[in-house]
Amino acid sequence: MKSEELFEVLNDIDENEIVKAQEYRAVKKTSLLRWILPAACAAAILIIAAVSPLVSKKFSEDPAADKPTPAGTSDLSVKDGDSSGNTEAAAQITPADTPVITGEYSLPENMSAVMPAYPEPVAAGMEASAFMESDAHWNWWDDYRTKMSSSFGLQSGMEHYYLTMMDQLLIADDENTVISPLNTYIAFAMLAELSDGNTRRQLLDLLGAPDIETLRADVSTLWNGNYVDTPILKSILANSLWLNDTVNYKAAALDTLAKDYYASSFYGDPSTPEMSEALRNWTDQNTGGILGEYVKDMELDPSTVLSIVSTIYYKAMWYDEFNASENTRESFHGTMGDTAVDMMHRSDINEVYRTDAFTAIHLGLNDSGSMYFFLPKEGVDVNSLLTDPDTIKATRTEYMTDDENASTAMVNMSIPKFSISNNSDLTQALKNCGISDIFDPLSSDFSPLTDDRNELYVSKAEHTALVEIDEQGVSGAAFTRVDLSGGAMLPEEEIDLVLDRPFMFMICGRDGSILFAGIVRNIT
């Protein structure tokens, strides 16, 4: 092919993208430089809090005998607490070429840890704007795109799970509800690894996986497709196991969780305040400290045999920021009455997804996916969107140009600043989904974890999530738009989308994974 022919082929680039490219105006770099504060920030914890014994445990003479050790493995490190009573940062003892980034936290003297090496931060210390224009960004992007495309291929198979969990955990009357479907998926997958027989089968069915090997490979793909730590984007996934050092564990399962799920194992006495403190520290640091209100109440029960804690911390910046000076004070018509909120405004060409039940738009996030906003039509209950298959479809519009519900319009959007969080008990949700064995000590099978197979059951399963959006990173910044011609290309249709009553949102990773989903019913 000759270059002129390629130029000709490029004539058929997606017309919507042509319009957007023409309309694009870079903001001053100062806005990127100022991105120290989160523009969109979210985090979640899932605790399958305790696979507990029904009766007291048998003690082993050498309780640590079956711990996975770093011997022969280059990607694991072991940390023992300082016997002198001093605490020490666990991350410091990892091999120099495989640093962990699960955060530095104090490990008390009576605890030890086995920690996998996490991916290194990309361009650590580089300013966001410099990173954006550097070769480092390209190198990272090329690598990330490969991982992301694998993960993208899994999304259609996960839609049933996403809808199931959203239906189970987001329906409410007046409370704001928010979850991280991806976070729960990974935690349940870890639980599946530690179970067997019908117990595992039930979990696999929930997760839509035919077998544990497929699930393991899928989680690894999802993990790699969503783990990002660059100066522009934080999407940090972390997993941990909190283990009772008086119990004999089977090394194979813990090795698998370390290697394929990046799960750090912490051994100690769950009855001690130190171990609970270490759990809180780890969780706090892996959720960016923004879930402190919930983390402070985390305690290990003395009878705990295992606590799985899985986290996601996400911080991304709007691709086009809001200008705080354009904010107005408006009423939000919540289910519990009107409240005054800070409404952010912007007009932009946007893909609009319209059905009889809702109108949805999305806002792009730098180097990541998008946040989708779903405004139900007047008279439509926002809860009904959770079982509407069109909600998932709306998040795929970028890839479905032939969907008749999708169109492009100039959207005058008004979006309230909000911060919502909640804690969900997963027990009933799991039971509603047909997961029963894990709660029943007579039926459960956790034999891959330990031989105490008839005594273990899940005593606690909860999920906490928080999502907040605002214009931080933009407010007060001296950014301007360069005003060039091109207005003639604006699409004819112009719509107003005012989120001044209960609405639903989803935050999707670049691969389409639903990182967070929630419903805002009231804003205080």
Partner: protein
């Protein structure tokens, strides 16, 4: 007048369609043509031809995005005129540079026309573009669809000219690798 009304004028064979198109999209189409031809007179002629081509195309076409439809006509007409005017060796015009840059993505060999393959290739290119970060996607489209100059892009994207060139170079390299991985040997 909105786009639907203009399109309707074409369908009703009302000659006001041309004046309305010219009023609304003349400046936009002229810019594309000038980017490709680097000559105002040539560009003006291409834009005039655009309205005639649109007249011949509607009906049967009923474009959903009239701006992009007319822009594509201008782009094609401008490329044809560019080919006619630049049969000899390329120079240093903007379009010459664009084609030189695109050499990175192609072998230069003759390729048989194959409509089915062509459609797949177009979809692969669109998929590649969707996989890019938005800013880089817009940069590529602005350079290789709208044929904007490097200096113009540097100003609009708030980048140095060198950074624009380097970024475009990386995108072309990525595009070539992406297409090669999928079996397209251009």
């Amino acid at each position: 007048m909105n786009d639907n009304e203009i399109v309707q004028l074409y369908w009703e064979r009302d000659e006001r369609a041309i004046s309305e198109s010219s009023d609304k999209y003349g400046r936009y189409c002229t810019k594309i043509a000038e980017n490709i031809l680097s000559d105002h007179e040539d560009a003006r002629e291409c834009v005039n031809d655009t309205w005639l081509r649109a007249w011949d195309s509607m009906p049967p076409h009923r474009p959903s995005l009239l701006s992009a439809f007319l822009g594509k006509l201008t782009r094609n007409l401008s490329l044809d005129r560019y080919r006619m005017l630049h049969r000899e060796k390329r120079g240093a015009h903007n379009m010459d540079l664009i084609l030189d840059e695109l050499e990175d993505c192609v072998s230069g060999a003759d390729t048989p026309e194959d409509t089915a393959l062509g459609n797949e290739l177009k979809e692969a290119i669109n998929a590649f573009l969707r996989s890019l970060p938005a800013q880089k996607r817009y940069l590529f489209i602005s350079r290789y669809w709208s044929a904007e100059t490097i200096s113009g892009l540097a100003e609009r994207f708030q980048m140095s000219e060198n950074n624009v060139s380097v970024s475009l170079n990386r995108i072309r390299g990525s595009l070539r690798a992406y297409l090669n991985e999928r079996g397209y040997k251009l």
